[in-house]
Symmetry: C2
Subunit: 164 residues, 2 copies
């Protein structure tokens, strides 16, 4: 097993929520599936997002400097695959679901578990990826009753506990 | 609902793996439970970790600049609670499980899903937390057959799929 295979095997053991990251602005509208999102600061409310520098999304996000993190519900498996597919253009991806607009003009997935409208604060490069520090300016909750997780190279659905 | 309550409610919708982060070195041995870990770069292999600046771990990690990320198995719920408890000193926390040593001298949890021995590359502050960019230098896989996730203010176990 090479070092990079070993790292990938370690990473599928680190389960994560699946999200669709969207942006819109002067550099255009785009969206990707991403699980490398994590909580950063409570005050100000901020999250981290890691994006591959070789993909189209990286340049678009750098230019627009605003985004929406759509946390997916258990029923969004196919949508997740579509937003991860290199064969689909942005217009085809967005055509597969219903969207509304966040206050910052980025697309919010109708029916997401929640949508976070963010402003990009800082961007720093490490190896193949960049880290975007995202300040959360708007939060909307959707009707989804379960979350979509990725673990062990598979999707999993987690139901929201009644007392949550 | 205040803005900070709304942010907390959004964050429990963002499911995440549960990990115990350990360190050892000139500033001493310490460990905390953390779910704010995410994949960063494949080459070099790197992950991100967000740590609260008000806790003891922050200063210890800043000084030691090395750590071990122990990805927890489904059976580690109680251990996760203990490493998150402010009432327990480091020595009490470590006394509750068996440990071996990573090559960088940090404690690896015996029976973890996997353990990542890391060197801290950069540290940057955002609000209440700091982001640690961690270069992964060593990976060990353990015998656990499930992962421990946090979602909807509760723990969940995800079994490793047979074909993973």
């Amino acid at each position: 097993m090479t070092d990079s295979e070993k790292f990938r095997d370690a990473m599928w053991r680190l389960g994560a929520a699946v999200n669709i990251i969207t942006t819109d602005g002067a550099a255009g509208r785009h969206g990707i599936t991403a699980s490398a999102v994590c909580r950063l600061s409570d005050d100000p409310a901020a999250v981290l997002l890691s994006v591959n520098r070789s993909g189209q999304m990286h340049g678009v996000l750098r230019a627009n400097r605003k985004l929406c993190i759509n946390v997916l519900g258990g029923e969004h498996e196919e949508l997740s695959n579509n937003f991860a597919s290199r064969r689909l253009e942005a217009s085809e991806r967005f055509g597969m679901a219903a969207w509304e607009e966040m206050e910052n003009g980025t697309p919010a997935l109708v029916g997401a578990l929640c949508s976070l409208g963010c402003r990009v604060d800082t961007i720093s490069e490490t190896g193949t990826h960049s880290v975007f520090v995202c300040h959360v300016e708007e939060i909307r909750f959707g009707p989804a009753q379960s979350g979509l997780m990725h673990f062990g190279r598979r999707y999993h659905r987690l139901a929201i506990p009644e007392a949550a």
